[in-house]
Subunit: 295 residues, 2 copies
């Protein structure tokens, strides 16, 4: 899906966040923002949001002091998520349908997204977790369940740090299959990298690969050859989060997208209102204008 006018303020906010986290002098912050804004004035709007965001964050990395401005936030989110795991794992195990419940928690984890807004409060996460067990999941949940139980080889495209712990709980429910977890090739926003996959202990339950790209999504042409081969060979692909949906919604193979609709742009494109829990198998060009509630 292509970006639109409403994506631009969000990119500018991401840039302001990255600048503030990297530089403390207000004068320098202001100089950097001027540079980013002037550069944005020449940006091509005819691309997907993750492609645009990739360009912006490359530009920011060239301007900002070396280092990952989001590392501290990612560590905080990983720690918080780690502390929540034991009780959520018990809740999933005690539920009527652990796989479906794990899908709900995995989608709940998708609120930990510094691309969509500039902070995620602990209070907000706790409140969301309270309502998770009752959340309806829209799309093709039954199909995902069937496909998950049948597939011997699943490629799971991760989204953000912190959130990746919630993904782990879902992947624990897919124990019948060989699961490969793919993370971003380089740090961008708070997207998960190999570092975060190891923080969540994925080496015990899945193979960890990276996609070779620094986009906050999965832009196949920008991914490594090895990743694209794994993408083609996977029996089932589960793609987590808005960035993966934005970059893969026109892909020519079946993909199950799991995400929370977090902005009006995604809502208009997917047909689901903001805040919806989505688990949907979107073939290219398939319309979601009238989605049915499955569970």
């Amino acid at each position: 899906m292509n970006m639109c006018l409403d994506c631009i303020p969000c990119f500018v906010r991401q840039a302001a966040d990255a600048v503030r986290m990297s530089v403390s002098s207000e004068e320098e912050q202001s100089r950097l923002m001027h540079s980013v804004l002037a550069w944005l004035g020449g940006m091509d709007l005819d691309q997907t949001p993750p492609a645009a965001s990739q360009m912006i964050h490359r530009r920011l990395r060239a301007l900002l002091p070396e280092g990952d401005p989001y590392r501290a936030a990612k560590d905080r989110h990983n720690s918080l998520a780690a502390s929540l795991m034991p009780s959520i794992r018990r809740r999933i195990a005690a539920s009527f349908d652990p796989l479906v419940m794990a899908v709900r928690y995995a989608i709940t984890g998708n609120i930990i997204d510094l691309g969509a807004k500039n902070s995620v409060g602990i209070g907000e996460i706790y409140a969301e977790l309270q309502s998770t067990p009752m959340q309806p999941v829209f799309g093709d949940l039954e199909d995902l369940k069937k496909a998950s139980l049948k597939a011997r080889n699943i490629l799971y495209l991760a989204d953000n740090a912190g959130e990746i712990f919630f993904d782990r709980l879902l992947i624990e429910q897919l124990a019948g299959a060989r699961v490969t977890l793919a993370v971003r090739g380089k740090p961008v926003i708070n997207d998960a990298t190999r570092f975060d996959a190891h923080a969540a202990g994925f080496e015990d339950i899945a193979e960890i690969i990276d996609n070779g790209s620094d986009a906050p999504g999965t832009i196949l042409d920008d991914c490594s050859e090895d990743f694209r081969r794994r993408f083609d060979e996977a029996e089932l692909i589960i793609a987590k989060g808005q960035g993966n949906y934005e970059s893969l919604s026109s892909a020519t193979r079946d993909i199950f997208f799991l995400f929370r609709t977090k902005c009006p742009v995604i809502s208009r494109h997917s047909g689901f209102s903001v805040g919806t829990f989505v688990a949907s198998n979107l073939s290219s060009g398939q319309s979601l204008a009238q989605p049915g509630e499955v569970q």
Copy 2:
């Protein structure tokens, strides 16, 4: 108060809103946004948010087709507010303290602000109105009440269209005084102009003046001489909304500010958390770090 990094995404969003409401071709929208972004790259950040916003909207007026892009939204908000007035007026009249209740409703009306976000839903307004009677008002409400009952000559600085109908209900409670309602001198965002003051029938209960300026706030140096004289002569000034607070928080005379804190920037500057109902007499330099709840 000066703007900060977090104001920039909000300005970009305002620009995207204005462009979308004025031009339908996506290609032309994209061209205009490029131009606005490139221009923003050279903007002086050392100014108040309303001063920066004034410059941006002047630039937009120079780029966009003639006309007021926000007029249709302002008409919708006026119509909605007009339809709500009879029942709210009855609720105020039946309350224990009609003046204080009218202050609460006037502050509730402050959510109708297209500067702070790009739409205000009817559902949101109804939900807010349900909780209005129970809302605590932070700041100096008792002082405002005393000053309102004593003053013979009050200058009321209006904020937005739609919201101005809620202001009318408060001004009806100040019947002992001669009230002058000041609106913006020219259209900017959804701020109220003379057109909206007449739509709310203010000519029956107050003198209507405009401040001669096209800023979404009250930048005294930019206002007409006549307005500044009225500002100096007024016994009591009530300034509505964030824009008036942002532009007058360093003024050298007492002003009662009535607003809803709608963004983290205002929250940090005023000391009130986001969503608070504020009625406060802020002398220049006075700290609000530990505000007390009054009513």
